[in-house]
């Protein structure tokens, strides 16, 4: 819904200008209006994207005695029921807005009110009734972001790190641990951000801050199977019927808005089902948006067009070239505020620009289906490895992996099958000893990338285990669940929260004031899916079984049976044209710059670039690509944030005044 920011000052009175400056830095998230609240030592406000209660939803919501104020970013899908409940308890409301409901919920229930709230949100509550206190809340999956920083005098918070960096108290310095985590996990973990001194409130947590206190409280965790009451139905058909009902209800809840809602269409089953079911609920054709690529290796337009035609969508395709990717990458890194291991955020950045131009503010997407319904190859891979490990000499067990990876270039040519099986056979052991057995191949690749680090950073890496940041995010019963479920928990805590919903999701869509809605991550829908038996989600090697079958003929065969194709965009190869990289990359990856910045090893980086310049294959390996992008995006963060302090700006118009409540 918008961007939020604010600060609490111990000694000085808060004032309008620093707040306005922080809000302008997140103004792309809420280009409709700015409003704020300044009282004693606290200042907080929003850059607003008007979606619900267009006339009356000004923030912050402030208590009558002006001692409690609330700002929030996101959507509260059950706010009408919550408000009705509060009215019964005697609360009176001036507006029909969500933020006012949150204020009264806090006044009624205290800090634990968040357990009642269903939605996507980042909420900041200032409570000045006793000692000044700031409470920062984040939704269960981390859909909406929330960062904070404190020093001796001030506590600050903002939707994006940019908001914090615009305050004079915060000096941008890259966080070495963030780089090490990203190399290993593809993302940061826990409360880490890419900048030292800046933390994020982790998904499913809230933070209590005051002069003498800093307390992180977890209010929700993705349940493990043993913790939920299983749903028993007599037949698959019964499960399918329940699933249809639950997903339709989720879509109905999630499309709450006083403005039109569109849909992203990737060509895969997840977004196809969402778009198909959403279109049944609305009048008129559904507006859908897709990314298409010049490079046929990545393009999915055939599937997208098929779906759009079948359902009569008002479809828009955004065509992306390699040049678009390398040109737009710096702006995207600036938006993402964290090292990137893929270029996929770039097409999504350009897509949200197109959606904005079309006048839409809200889009539904298929994010979350792979995590909740076990769609990733990773889940099948670990199941196969465990199966194969029982009889490692068996050839046909190993060949199951081949079926899984048929789309990867190294598997397309049959002659390599044997040695690739030999490669995978080396990863079989460890199911008993390694708590993160499922992640062994991916994290092993990550460890190899540490060889690109400078000697200083490599020394740090030798003494630091990134798992220490991940551990607190995993459920206490992690050791009791099987490896497939462990992989699911890890994916939710890392890839989903800190990349798919963050760098690829919120940061890209909100860069143009477009809000994403995620029916597969709806709180009630997630609770239902958690109760479904494993075989309804992953049946043998058939992933997302219930999703693929519950809608029958309505979904075209080609989409229903399409194997998972990870959403990808041209990677490292997009940065090399006739052996040359774009100017900014030539400069930032030069020996001199790499040496000076001290994060990476100049010799190793040179060798990687030489490989890129002379590449004959149409794709480079994943390990090389990930290394290249992490290095380039980190050097860009250094250039954009540490050296130039925000050299790039948002490309959309925002107002130039702020209303005070």
């Amino acid at each position: 819904m918008c961007g939020i920011a604010g600060y609490l000052s111990r000694q000085q009175a808060a004032s309008r200008d620093p707040l306005f400056s922080m809000l302008k830095s997140v103004g792309h998230r809420g280009p409709d209006s700015y409003s704020g609240f300044v009282e004693g030592g606290v200042a907080m406000g929003t850059a607003r994207l008007a979606i619900v209660d267009l006339a009356g939803g000004t923030q912050p919501a402030v208590s009558d005695d002006r001692r409690v104020a609330v700002v929030f970013n996101g959507e509260i899908f059950n706010f009408r029921e919550l408000r009705a409940g509060l009215e019964k308890q005697g609360h009176r409301f001036r507006t029909r807005s969500e933020v006012e409901t949150l204020l009264h919920l806090y006044l009624q229930h205290g800090e634990g009110f968040v357990s009642l709230v269903k939605g996507q949100f980042a909420i900041a509550v200032w409570d000045g009734r006793g000692e000044d206190r700031l409470l920062l809340y984040r939704d269960r999956f981390g859909i909406r972001p929330l960062f904070w920083h404190r020093n001796a005098q001030t506590i600050l918070f903002a939707s994006e790190i940019k908001g914090l960096l615009s305050h004079p108290a915060v000096q941008p310095r890259l966080n070495a641990h963030a780089i090490l985590q990203t190399i290993r996990f593809w993302t940061v973990a826990g409360d880490t951000s890419a900048f030292e001194g800046v933390k994020q409130v982790p998904a499913g947590h809230y933070l209590k801050l005051s002069a003498g206190e800093e307390c992180l409280v977890r209010y929700w965790q993705l349940p493990v199977s043993a913790e939920v009451e299983p749903l028993y139905f007599a037949s698959d058909e019964d499960y399918f019927a329940a699933f249809r009902e639950q997903l339709d209800a989720s879509i109905r809840r999630q499309r709450m808005a006083d403005v039109p809602v569109g849909s992203y269409l990737s060509g895969g089953i997840d977004s196809t089902v969402v778009a198909a079911r959403l279109s049944r609920q609305i009048d008129g054709p559904l507006k859908t948006y897709s990314v298409t690529f010049d490079d046929p290796d990545y393009d999915e337009s055939f599937a997208q067009d098929l779906v759009a035609r079948r359902f009569g969508f008002d479809h828009h395709a955004c065509r992306i070239s390699s040049g678009d990717i390398s040109r737009t990458f710096p702006q995207v890194v600036w938006q993402a505020e964290t090292p990137l291991f893929r270029t996929a955020p770039v097409p999504l950045f350009l897509l949200s620009r197109a959606v904005r131009k079309d006048g839409l503010k809200v889009v539904m997407t298929g994010e979350g289906a792979d995590e909740m319904l076990l769609g990733y190859d990773l889940f099948k891979e670990v199941a196969i490895r465990l199966f194969w490990e029982k009889r490692p000499e068996s050839k046909w067990r190993g060949r199951l992996l081949e079926r899984l990876y048929r789309h990867l270039p190294q598997y397309r040519n049959r002659r390599y099958i044997q040695i690739l099986m030999d490669f995978y056979r080396t990863t079989l052991q460890g199911a008993e000893e390694d708590p993160h057995y499922a992640m062994a191949v991916r994290w092993g690749n990550g460890k190899a990338i540490e060889n690109y680090l400078s000697p200083v950073l490599r020394e740090q890496a030798a003494a630091y285990d990134p798992c220490s940041a991940l551990q607190p995010m995993l459920p206490p019963r992690y050791p009791d669940i099987d490896h497939v479920e462990r992989a699911q928990q890890v994916e939710v805590a890392t890839l989903l929260s800190n990349y798919l919903l963050a760098s690829q999701g919120d940061r890209m869509s909100m860069s143009h004031g477009v809000e994403g809605r995620y029916p597969y991550l709806d709180d009630d829908f997630v609770a239902f899916v958690a109760r479904l038996p494993r075989r309804i989600k992953l049946r043998g090697l058939r992933d997302k079984f219930v999703l693929r079958h519950a809608f029958g003929e309505e979904i075209p065969d080609q989409i229903r049976n399409r194997p998972k194709v990870a959403y990808q965009a041209p990677e490292m190869i997009a940065f090399f044209e006739n052996g040359k990289m774009p100017d900014y990359a030539e400069e930032l990856l030069s020996r001199e710059r790499i040496q000076e910045t001290g994060l990476f090893d100049p010799g190793a980086v040179d060798a990687l670039i030489a490989k890129g310049r002379s590449a004959t294959l149409s794709r480079l390996g994943m390990r090389d690509s990930v290394a290249y992008l992490v290095i380039l995006s980190t050097m860009l963060l250094d250039e954009l944030y540490v050296r130039s302090k925000l050299g790039i700006h948002s490309d959309i118009e925002t107002p130039n005044n702020m209303e005070l409540v």
Partner: protein, 91 residues
Amino acid sequence: MSNTNSACVDEVRAEIIEYVLKNYVTEFDARTLPLDKSLVELGILDSFGVVELVAFLEDRWAISIRDEEITREKMGSIDKMVSLVLGKLNP
């Protein structure tokens, strides 16, 4: 062995080592890179790297490696690769 064969061994080995160090980042250098261990197990090559390496060997020495020779047994260390290549050059 004749002098020609010994020279070949050193040359082939040196070139393979150079290729590996140039294309895959690792903590080893020309002196320390293990010759008798699997590059995959050492974490130097991933599955894609294996494919690249086979392509390199075939291109560099204009040899043809049979499908059934592309195995860990025949190629699972630098020493093994050297033997494989020499075997093709001096049949």
